[in-house]
Symmetry: C2
Subunit: 336 residues, 2 copies
């Protein structure tokens, strides 16, 4: 295999000069030399070793997308439609900007530290990591880190959140405007500081605007799996008092619709439902799912940009971004 040294010898320049050209630090080399060196590189099919480059640089050009491995999500990290669209977007952005993508689940903060240090990871995108231990580890690692769906505003970390409270409000208000009063809130566990807590707050705000005081008999929490969603749908089929349902994820809403139908209860004739995400499932349910739109691809692109700008020493307009939401009307809500 051709080495940097071979290229340098053939071009009659130093190894440092070739290295500068290969790593696009071309301003330090004359245009003629840059041209000549690239010609030799192409002719000789030189491939720079990323491992050597990782050792020579402060980082490896690998961006890690890391999710928290828990007993509940084991083995189905990417199978969430939001997450797969999000990772797709990061793959595209890293590829187009000369970076690489490593996908990994970690059990705890020590795993995160070991992973990052072993690979000299250039940056981290963290999803589903709410514990303080992960935040402390992220700060200690001293590399660009973007927290996804986090409201932590630590000055040493970037974060991308969503108008989750407003999303919960819009979804619930839409049901209220269509005459529904007994509205269920369905979601995974409501955790302090997490997105579900915000969506739940928006639900409460809308209900109160209509003079309603929702009680705990309207709140249903369980893990977001297709099976759990269908089970909840079968259960809700028996709750004749509930006419409207807000689900904090489209995949949960689709599961509930399937479960309701198993009991002969149909949307929107018998019950109305609003989802959250606006991923491809919202276009596959029958009827189409009225839902709160968020842009997973934009989230991924922004996360990648935040990391690369920091690596390149460029300023970041905002370290803590909250992306907007909007309501998309389809056919899953009936006027009472």
């Amino acid at each position: 295999m051709v080495t940097l040294k071979d290229i340098a010898a053939e071009a009659g320049v130093s190894i440092t000069t070739v290295s500068n050209v290969v790593h696009h630090r071309q301003s330090r080399v004359s245009p003629e030399r840059v041209k000549k060196i690239w010609e030799i590189i192409e002719r000789e099919h030189y491939v720079p070793s990323m491992s050597a480059r990782s050792l020579a640089n402060e980082h490896s050009f690998i961006i890690g997308v890391v999710t928290h491995l828990t007993p509940l999500n084991a083995g189905s990290t990417m199978s969430d439609p939001f997450l797969s669209a999000f990772v797709d977007s990061i793959e595209k952005q890293t590829r187009e900007q000369g970076y690489y993508l490593m996908v990994r689940s970690v059990e705890n903060a020590d795993d995160l530290i070991t992973l990052t240090r072993s690979w000299h990871l250039a940056g981290l995108v963290l999803t589903g990591m709410f514990q303080d231990s992960f935040l402390e580890a992220s700060i200690r690692l001293n590399i660009p880190v973007v927290l996804i769906d986090s409201y932590v505003e630590n000055p040493e970390l970037c974060s991308i959140g969503l108008e989750d409270e407003q999303g919960g409000y819009l979804a619930t208000k839409y049901l209220l405007e269509h005459g529904h009063r007994s509205i269920a809130f369905t979601s995974p566990a409501i955790r302090a500081g997490g997105v579900i807590e915000q969506r739940y707050s928006g639900y409460i705000r809308a209900m109160k605007e209509y003079g309603l005081t929702p009680d705990s008999s309207l709140v249903f929490t369980q893990e977001i799996t297709v099976e759990q969603g269908r089970k909840l749908g079968r259960k809700l089929a028996g709750r004749k008092d509930i006419t409207g349902i807000f689900s904090s994820a489209d995949i949960l809403a689709a599961g509930i619709m399937a479960g309701l139908s198993e009991k002969g209860v149909f949307v929107p004739k018998d019950k109305s439902i609003v989802g959250f995400d606006d991923n491809f499932l919202a276009q596959l349910t029958i009827p189409g799912l009225t839902t709160v739109h968020q842009d997973a691809a934009e989230k991924g692109a922004l996360a990648t940009e935040m990391i690369i700008r920091q690596l390149e020493g460029k300023p970041i307009p905002e370290k803590h971004v909250i992306l907007p939401v909007s309501l998309v009307e389809r056919g899953s809500v009936r006027r009472l």
Copy 2:
């Protein structure tokens, strides 16, 4: 940061000895020394550099899952439910066996070679790469490669396929047994040597067993996107002659069901449909989708195992595996 040298000095052994222990070549070191060295490693929080390890070894411990980037799939590689479950499985297997996962799309064989060589990739899992140029490149790379959904039986490469012809046969036969005779075949483009060609062959075999000669007016090919599926559904709604539909992917079947419903045509009352994959979508459609089952997680686990066994110099029972399929009955087919 603590280095290998620091550990060696503290343990009073050579750097090579510490390296042997860290890289699990412990048989060359006495048990007492192994124990002592690990104690120091843990106490000092030593993290071996994977970049250094990549340079020292023949490979980097990174397994690349590579998809073919085409104008049609740009930006939606992982958003296919089969592929996301497959990648989830590889992430789990690599993590549990001390390897790492890099996800990447490539445009052509040169990209594949550059990616592999830059990172000294330990092995490659290739999906959606049918061109000869990719096969030639894979052989030239001289590392373990597993082709997914491929029927190429090159002795230098591994491949994992599926009983695709049998799947197409089972799906079509099921519709025939339920009294359907005018059965549409819906899929992405039928390419020579690809899985769709096989599923189509199975469809033809079943039709012929019933003395039917399917003509081209029953074959509908288009890209597998939710929008294209729904469009096809709206079109099929107008084809009163067609009572049964076989779709080569669940996501296409779900899209067709949604499109049919937009025109007031419902499954299974007005038309029956059978899918292929048995991913989570088959449990979310209303009614549940009768479909051909394949195990994406098993495919991912097997691909990882094939690569790691080769890296460890262990024999591979079979280089070319064809996984079985079976029909899963749900509610999308009505007896005519």
